[in-house]
């Protein structure tokens, strides 16, 4: 309390919120990075590199990042997405093997539905443990990260590589390799993963921004106690975000299976870190209550561009992890500085 009591505090004058400033810095960095690479390499600024290569690679991470954004805006955390994706991909291949004799559309639809159910169920398990069991999200998903991978190991009979039956291979490949021409030309094509990502992203934006549930997600992350006292079923909201996250893992798993045509219990390790990094670099705070999908998109693009540039700039494989790690650290440190400035 200062004198003057109810005069509006000086910091409250209208100015772009810290969120915007923060997203602005990351966006600025992204633009600068693109400009530098476009100037230095000829290959960067081509449709083939940017869309077919970079965006397609980013797509399956982006799909999971959408689910992760829900979890993190609600104040949670999910370390188990890598393992969940693994179980989902194993499930997809197992169903395809079981339906090998069926027409391709039926087999693939069956696989998609079964995979989605498994993904949502694994996510819901996390959600129930966090929201109703009261176990810390970090601990819960660290445990299920191990448990889910163990399940995948059993489903693959101790780590065998499962292959998609030959009869379905070509059809399934379209899920990853399929291309749709834009403007009727051969040059401007987009891949199916990009289309799926755009669809998942659009639906996620809609749910998070334009539905009651989306508002509740922000409210629970902002102040869970007050939300509960305002009549929100906070446990259900929290649990649902994990379920959604599991569902996005399933979608990503199907797409990725289309590329590799196999499923292995050891796949997708470390995936969770890249996804969480995208969300955090984008500007969704660890405590939740703020941030959003467009922030995540910017974070994801920044990390993807860096990933794309490492070989183009001749960074040797053994140095890349150091560069990746340092960049995440620097970006978040920069954001923190901007955040402090924004406050005073």
């Amino acid at each position: 309390m200062t004198a003057g009591g109810e005069t509006v505090p000086a910091g409250a004058r209208r100015r772009p919120s810290f969120q915007l400033i923060q997203a602005g810095t990351v966006l600025l960095l992204l633009v600068i990075l693109c400009a530098v690479s476009a100037a230095r390499t000829e290959t960067f600024l081509t449709w083939r590199n940017l869309v077919i290569n970079l965006l397609t690679n980013a797509s399956y991470l982006g799909i999971i990042a959408c689910g992760m954004t829900f979890v993190m805006v609600a104040g949670g955390f999910d370390l188990s997405v890598g393992s969940t994706t693994t179980v989902c991909s194993v499930m997809a291949v197992l169903v395809l093997q079981g339906l090998a004799g069926q027409p391709p559309w039926l087999a693939i639809t069956g696989a998609v539905l079964a995979t989605a159910a498994v993904g949502a169920a694994l996510g819901a398990f996390n959600g129930v443990s966090v929201a109703y069991g009261g176990v810390n999200p970090f601990v819960t998903t660290l445990s299920t990260m191990l448990v889910f991978r163990g399940i995948a190991l059993i489903m693959t009979h101790g780590g065998q590589t499962l292959s998609v039956p030959l009869a379905l291979k070509d059809a399934l490949s379209q899920v990853y390799w399929g291309k749709v021409a834009l403007f009727g030309t051969e040059t401007y094509q987009v891949t199916v993963p990009i289309l799926v990502f755009v669809a998942v992203f659009a639906v996620s934006v809609f749910v998070l921004r334009f539905t009651r549930f989306g508002h509740y997600v922000y409210a629970v992350g902002g102040n869970e106690n007050a939300s509960w006292l305002a009549g929100i079923n906070t446990s259900l909201v929290k649990a649902s975000t994990y379920g959604l996250c599991g569902l996005t893992c399933a979608i990503a798993a199907v797409i990725y299976t289309g590329m590799s045509n196999t499923a292995q219990a050891a796949s997708y390790q470390g995936l969770e870190l890249v996804v969480i990094a995208s969300v955090i670099v984008g500007g969704t705070p660890l405590g939740g209550g703020a941030g959003g999908l467009f922030y995540t998109l910017i974070g994801l693009l920044l990390l993807s561009v860096i990933e794309n540039l490492l070989p183009q700039f001749g960074v040797e494989e053994e140095y890349r992890n150091i560069v990746r790690g340092l960049i995440i650290l620097v970006v978040v440190a920069m954001d923190t500085l901007v955040r402090k400035r924004g406050r005073t």
Binding site: T2, A3, T211
Partner: protein, 508 residues
């Protein structure tokens, strides 16, 4: 400029004379004189923004740019940072404790001054314990040095904080609203500690807005209003009503709306509400259009009654609304039946930080605002909020602004708006004017009266007896989790009678 207070008794420890402090052109303190004698508890009271905290911040060396003179134990002093103030012997205990709950008492007491061990970077645990014991012996507190502070009761955590503040040679201690978050037992223990400090000749400044506490602890009281001293009194022989008049001045009569509401049929009935240790067989009813006040000291069980009715805490007993019992107990179930509640702790239980004013207002009616499949446009949320912002006069009237950037009073108005969106039949208000300036208080009083006139039942809890006496149709006095008396406030001087009823000790 010299002032002579003509102190006959007690040795003058602190004299602040003609203190003037401006904040960007606004005068926060205007020629304030204030003094404390050794071994005296001097209470400093006033409305929000009256200048209590500013005056103590001047004393604690928080500002460099003030005018006036400070004389501390006979010598002129001009502390310009907290370290200098501490070196002089002035300690401040803030409302929110700053102890580290996972460290032991000893570690907390010697934080930053740990005795080094033999190897560089290590510390000597035996010395640490011994030194901590010495510190505690000096102040005369009996605390387990090896126990984590988080395991102690809140009152004993206060002791750790006090001992920490008194590590130097502190001779004046400022308590800034120390009882704001204490239960009644803990308040009693804290008072005992303060009496102990007093007996050792330490001067105490006691900031509070709870008039009811003063007779228990303070010797003198100084009232600030709009940055000026409006009076200094001996607590003995001064009535609560007089202090209220001093705090509010002319405003007292203008602040409260005329009583226009007419209580109708019973609406909410509470029977045998019991929760072991906190509530015992609480029964009452509230009529439509009635304002029922719950009076009692902090920790008497007022809030617990309200929370149990709202379903925020579990309790045995029956709550019926409109003749139909409330089944499952949860805030959601209570809301569905038309009960709303403004929580006492606005920051913890009310505002949802990060969300806009519009979302904070709309959060309780999202189900009604949303269309098919939960579809909800930002426009709908905004329009719903704009209606409430106009009605509640939230300033600035900007639905997109983040709620935490509003002043306390405007946050409260937004949260009231949140509940009014649901058009509740029963509205429970727990300390609705806490931490709010006088002008906004008056607005909220008018609103409460309007709501009662619309036929809603209002359950009003407040530490400020004047609010209760001026607004409530009936008053229930709560002591130790029980309703001990029902009163019907007749006129505004009843404050002293209500106060006496709240204070009376139970025969044990």
């Amino acid at each position: 400029m010299t002032h002579d207070h003509g102190q006959a008794t007690g040795v003058s420890l602190l004299r602040m004379e003609g203190i003037v402090k401006d904040f960007s052109g606004v005068r926060a303190l205007d020629r304030v004189d204030f003094d404390v004698r050794a071994g005296e508890v001097h209470a400093l009271i006033g409305e929000n923004g009256a200048g209590k905290s500013t005056l103590m911040n001047v004393l604690a060396g928080r500002f460099a740019d003030y005018r006036g003179r400070i004389v501390f134990s006979g010598k002129e002093a001009r502390p310009t940072n907290p370290r200098e103030a501490l070196a002089l012997g002035i300690g401040v205990i803030f409302q929110d404790l700053s102890v580290l709950p996972n460290l032991t008492v000893a570690e907390n007491l010697l934080l930053g001054h740990e005795p080094p061990g033999r190897l560089p970077g290590t510390l000597n645990r035996r010395d640490l314990m011994a030194q901590a014991r010495r510190v505690l012996d000096d102040v005369g507190f009996d605390l387990p040095v090896g126990a984590p502070v988080g395991r102690l009761s809140h009152a004993r955590q206060c002791l750790v904080e006090i001992a920490h503040a008194m590590r130097g040679n502190v001779r004046l201690l400022v308590f800034d609203e120390p009882t704001a978050s204490l239960g009644s037992e803990d308040v009693e223990r804290l008072f005992e500690v303060i009496r102990g400090l007093k007996a050792r000749g330490i001067g105490i400044v006691y900031i509070s807005h709870r008039l009811a506490e003063l007779p228990l602890i303070a010797d003198r009281v100084t009232v600030l209003r709009d940055g000026r001293v409006v009076g200094t009194r001996d607590v003995a022989g001064t009535k609560v009503s007089e202090l209220s008049h001093l705090m509010l001045g002319r405003r007292l009569t203008e602040m409260f709306p005329e009583k226009r509401n007419t209580p109708g049929d019973p609406l909410l009935r509470v029977e045998g509400l019991t929760r072991p240790g906190t509530l015992e067989d609480v029964s009452f009813e509230v009529r439509s259009g009635e304002i029922l006040g719950l009076a009692g000291l902090v920790g008497s069980g007022r809030t617990e009654i309200a929370r149990a009715v709202f379903g925020a805490d579990p309790a045995a007993g029956r709550v019926t609304l409109d003749g139909r019992p409330l089944g499952r107990r949860s805030p959601r179930a209570a809301m569905a039946r038309g009960i709303g509640m403004i929580q006492e702790n606005r920051k913890r239980d009310g505002t949802i930080t990060g969300l806009s004013v519009a979302q904070n207002i709309g959060i309780s009616v999202m189900d009604r605002l949303a269309g098919l499949a939960g579809f909800l446009t930002p426009g709908r949320v905004r329009r719903n909020a704009e209606r409430m912002i106009r009605r509640m006069d939230v300033r600035p009237p900007d639905p997109a602004r983040a709620i935490q950037t509003l002043s306390g009073g405007n946050q409260q108005k937004a949260i009231l708006g949140r509940w009014l969106c649901r058009d509740p039949k029963v509205l429970i208000l727990d300390e609705p004017t806490q931490g709010i300036d006088v002008g906004t208080k008056a607005q909220i009083y008018r609103l409460i009266m309007d709501l009662a006139c619309e036929g809603r039942a209002i359950l009003l809890i407040s530490s400020e007896l004047f609010e209760l006496v001026n607004l409530a149709d009936r008053l229930l006095v709560v002591r130790q989790g029980r309703i001990v008396r029902e009163m019907t406030p007749g006129d505004r001087t009843d404050v002293d009678a209500v106060f006496a009823a709240c204070m009376r000790k139970e025969p044990r």
